[in-house]
């Protein structure tokens, strides 16, 4: 029972709720000016505390039910995920590391470089054999998206100053509205 995934999740949630309740005072700021009742709104602590208490109660029920052996629907939604293969898990972990790294460096290295690395890494992890294809797409597609987003959609993407300095005048020559 303690090994089942949903039990562990619920226990984790319960723990989180209890901690959040206990530390509530420090985690939620109080307004610096206290207004009289007619004009002051809800206290910022009220709803979170209510919800956390609710979570504790429901989690408690769930755990109590499990202990009594009631209602076991685990695995119903995703039967395909049962069973483990170590190769897959290693790939997944590697992917997670890649993704987290890319999320952290995107501001430093810029969009085009980071996306190149991300796509390259993912392609290899997912089993693409053709290096030419990988490189072509990993370099080309982010570039297309970059032009689309910054020029057509007029939204900014993080990019190195050097690259931007080269691209901006070039893109300025494209027709726009």
């Amino acid at each position: 029972m303690f090994r089942k995934a949903d039990f562990r999740l619920v226990a984790g949630l319960l723990l989180l709720a209890v901690v959040a309740l206990a530390l509530g005072q420090r985690l939620i700021a109080e307004p610096p000016i206290n207004l009289s009742d007619d004009i002051s709104p809800l206290n910022p602590r009220l709803f979170p505390s209510l919800v956390l208490v609710g979570i504790v109660v429901v989690a408690g029920f769930f755990i109590a039910n499990r202990i009594r052996g009631v209602e076991d629907f685990e695995g119903e939604l995703e039967p395909a995920l049962a069973g483990d293969d170590s190769g897959g898990t290693k790939r997944l972990l590697g992917f997670l590391v890649l993704v987290v790294l890319c999320a952290l460096v995107i501001n430093m290295l810029g969009f085009l470089t980071t996306m190149f690395v991300l796509m390259l890494g993912t392609s290899l992890l997912v089993g693409n054999d053709s290096i030419a294809q990988i490189v072509a797409f990993s370099a080309g597609l982010p570039f297309v998206i970059y032009v689309l987003v910054t020029h057509v959609l007029r939204t900014s993407l993080p990019e190195l100053d050097a690259i931007e300095a080269v691209l901006v005048p070039l893109l300025g020559m494209l027709p726009s509205f």
Binding site: A29, P31, V166
Partner: protein
């Protein structure tokens, strides 16, 4: 022999080309004039609100005086703190400005605990574009024909009459607080997400009185849907409607100054350029016509003059916040 000279030729060409490129990249910015790319105007207000609409008008016309577009970036949220934070953290190169108002600028330091910025220290005024004057409004079919009617009822039933406003410590709330303080009445203030919902609440009958900017209520007044009981200031802006001063309410209450500001560290010459552009804008007949069509005034104050105004307001607001809290 031929190989060496061809080789040398190629090398020289390569070096020269790259040298030119490098110079273009490096020397480029220094040679160009400010502004050489679009300027972002952060507007920390809800879409469609009076700030948004005013901004759309003046950004359209100020292009003529800056030779670059000024692009509005709406960043609503947290009573404007999100947008203000973004503006304060932006590089102070003159390409990021913020469109704000006096309450956010000078009052919020007393009412919202904010460790991330200090508007007085971090922002400098470029121009006060115009101001909005708050008016107190009731439904067209309400029993209150004049402000005196309303006040009498409010005195008779303290804490029972309800007023909708656009958010804690925003223009309508502060005006309400000042009215309550100056006239000694107690109303129940109900928050809404902005002027639009506050007006809807009044029209739907959930509250008895609200506030609004008369310029945006012309159609409603004409149709008899809304009645204005009083307007801010010392003089009347509408014929039969008394001004605050006449009714014994502070004459400086209910003014929302809409001002464009820049991070304080922005180079002085760029600030000067911006200020000059705004000054020129005031003589533009199309701009004035567009503002008039929207029902807004163009009471401009240049950056320096508004800096003085800010200081004066800042001093007032500490007391005001305390007074409203004590109500």
């Amino acid at each position: 022999m031929a190989n060496v000279s061809t080789f040398l030729l190629r090398v020289t060409r390569a070096v020269t080309t790259s040298g030119v490129l490098v110079m273009m990249l490096v020397g480029g910015p220094a040679l160009a004039q400010y502004p050489e790319r679009p300027i972002t105007l952060i507007t920390p207000y809800a879409a469609g609100g009076s700030h948004d609409l005013n901004a759309r008008v003046f950004t359209t016309y100020i292009q003529r005086y800056l030779d670059q577009p000024v692009v509005i970036k709406l960043v609503p949220g947290q009573a404007g703190q999100k947008g203000t934070l973004e503006a304060v953290q932006a590089p102070p190169d003159g390409y990021t400005l913020i469109f704000t108002d006096n309450y956010r600028d000078q009052l919020y330091q007393h009412t919202f605990r904010n460790r991330h910025y200090d508007t007085t220290a971090d922002l400098i005024s470029v121009a006060r574009v115009n101001y909005g004057q708050v008016g107190l409004i009731v439904r067209g079919d309400s029993p209150y024909q004049t402000w005196q009617d309303f006040e009498a009822d409010a005195r008779a039933r303290p804490g029972e009459l309800k007023m909708s406003h656009s958010g804690l410590w925003a223009a309508f709330f502060v005006t309400a607080g000042q009215v309550m303080k100056d006239r000694g009445i107690r109303l129940r203030l109900v928050p809404y997400r902005g002027g639009g919902p506050a007006k809807a609440a009044l029209l739907g009958g959930d509250v008895d009185i609200s506030a609004g900017f008369p310029s945006s209520l012309v159609a409603d007044v004409e149709a008899g849907v809304i009645r204005i009981l009083a307007t801010a200031g010392s003089e009347r802006t509408i014929e039969d409607v008394p001004s605050f001063a006449e009714l014994g309410i502070s004459a400086s209450a209910g003014f929302m100054h809409r001002a464009v500001m820049a991070p304080r560290a922005t180079p002085a010459d760029r600030i000067a350029r911006l200020r000059a552009a705004f000054a020129e804008l005031q003589d533009d007949p199309d701009y004035k016509a567009a503002m008039a069509q929207m029902g807004e005034n163009t009471e401009y104050l240049d950056g320096e003059a508004y800096e003085d105004e800010r200081r004066a307001l800042g001093n007032e607001y500490a007391e005001l916040a305390a007074a409203i809290a004590a109500l």
